[in-house]
Symmetry: C2
Subunit: 342 residues, 2 copies
């Protein structure tokens, strides 16, 4: 499992478009205590509202890693970043990257890391090995966010729920399964990069035994109804053995992103299918709510859709951004009062 | 995809126990035309009924690869094999291995392979990359063998069906998804070693577009009802988009091998679940029969079980070893007369 030294210096490169700095904004938003400073190259205009410090000054202020907070299309390391990355290593900072191109394969960065005795964290690369899953029921409570497609808010919903639980004084840990989530959490497993035989075992490793009233809130990936990724999602579901799941929906989207021949299943089908398949490793699995991603909807449309789902499914329905997840956490607190052995 | 130069010299090491030579016997049985000779070390007693030739003599007789046909516990290369493997490379033979320990990582074999310009085929290692699955329906017919557990006869059933189809003059190809199957077929993809994101894409690659009346008979892996491997099996099911599937059962086994807390699902549940999940990429998926692995059953018990299944499910039921698969191939010929566009 990745385990990242924090706090971070957030490196913003020469970016001028917020869309390329989603990673940096996500960290600033979800774990402000881990974002000690920002640094950009000449021409860069992204401002996270953090002190501008160069690597040496950030290290002196307590930073332990430089995190690449921008993601150019293609996922390659820009040649104009290399001097800053070398400077960071010289200042004793680890480097953290979610790019496709690996730091560890870079002809200049890799030897420099050895010289400076610092670590390069390539978050798209899983650990070399995980155990085969056992299917054994673990102690503690688990919630998994699921959905009918990729990229419709499963990470955001999980973060919002874990955040709300902690704000209420509940025991809760966000468990990351993708590179941005791993940067935010400082730990996690890039589940879709794990060799298929070990996916369920990696998911078991990600949420180990815990106190009976502790919640692991696990970031979902893909969809068990996706023609390319269902196997990843099913291994994650089985290894996570969730007690509860939240279905993330994006009502404006009608077909799978990039797969126009495949309609997105309605929430009730996702609920039924998740229960059917998830019951193999947790017979008590149940749906705890619907997270609505209101992208592209007017406020009125969103309200109508949420009300319709609420009436139809008799479950908490919430927009993690607009409403926050308090209804679903109320529901979980009531349902799981006394922990898993209620 | 692996593509192996044949025919093979089957290397039997110092083995004296048939149980360790299952790979060699499998090749001898399923593709006798590819097994040109055998060779063992002093003390070895396994006899496949082939000429005993050393690597140089086998190469002179037409062999193109030495295949390691024995699998000691642990899957490591025995130090006493190395001289023979070097001799084989010197004679121009590729080396083929399904062992866990990779030929390509061996400190003596890897440089020798470069010197002799021969290839080392490690069948547990998948190709470096596969595409993401598209879910596009391909031309041609596909059959997948499935089951409620690992290691209950899915490879054997698929080989028997493909063999019977070819014997009848039907167009058919066995598609291997595990290392022994790959050795027998001379090509294939070790599906459980593929990174999870690419499993369905690898399965699509394995059975490309084909003539409308051509059958790809695909070796199944694991089970969609297995707590550790269901993700692998689901990716294989989606990428294979089978028109027909055969459920392999081992009635004597009641719980998953190595997972005593998990009962094996009955055949009707496997049929229903395979249809439900498989319909995502092929709405016409249907069950074509039940293959019974009669290990541990008396002849009478096996007959009774087969008759009961036949009556209960109204499908062909056969023991691939005792009965052969002609009933199921009759069924497929009738049902798919005229190819996929019936």
């Amino acid at each position: 499992m990745h385990d990242l030294p924090r706090p971070y210096l957030l490196f913003l490169g020469e970016a001028t478009d917020h869309a390329y700095a989603k990673t940096a904004f996500g960290i600033r938003y979800w774990c402000p205590e881990d974002a000690i400073a920002q640094y950009h190259l000449p021409g860069g205009t992204i401002d996270l509202g953090l002190p501008d410090l160069d690597p040496a000054a950030a290290a002196a202020a307590g930073a332990r890693s430089l995190l690449i907070g921008v993601a150019p299309i293609g996922g390659a390391l820009s040649p104009i970043w290399i001097d800053v990355l070398l400077e960071a290593m010289a200042a004793g900072l680890d480097l953290v990257s979610g790019m496709h191109e690996r730091l560890a394969d870079h002809p200049v960065l890799a030897p420099a890391a050895r010289d400076h005795k610092i670590r390069l964290h390539d978050l798209r690369v899983p650990a070399p090995s995980y155990p085969i899953a056992t299917g054994r029921k673990r102690s503690g409570l688990r919630l998994l966010t699921v959905g009918g497609d990729c990229a419709l808010g499963k990470k955001y919903a999980a973060l919002a729920i874990a955040h709300e639980m902690k704000a209420r004084g509940m025991k809760a840990t966000f468990r990351a399964t993708g590179q941005t989530g791993i940067m935010i959490a400082g730990a996690g497993i890039p589940i879709d990069a794990v060799v298929s035989d070990f996916v369920a075992g990696a998911a078991e490793t990600l949420s180990p035994d815990n106190a009976p009233d502790h919640w692991d809130v696990i970031e979902g990936q893909g969809s068990i109804l996706h023609p390319a990724y269902a196997g990843v999602s099913l291994g994650l579901l089985h290894g996570s053995q969730p007690d509860a799941f939240v279905v993330c929906v994006a009502p404006k989207r009608t077909t799978l992103q990039g797969f126009p021949a495949f309609p997105i299943a309605p929430p009730e089908e996702i609920i039924e299918r998740t229960r059917l398949l998830g019951s193999l490793t947790n017979a008590e699995i149940s749906c705890a709510g619907i997270a609505v991603n209101a992208s592209g909807l007017s406020g009125r449309e969103a309200s109508e859709i949420k009300e319709r789902l609420r009436v139809h499914l008799s479950l908490p329905v919430f927009d993690p951004i607009v409403d926050g997840p308090s209804d679903v956490v109320d529901f979980l607190e009531a349902r799981f009062a006394g922990g898993q052995d209620r």
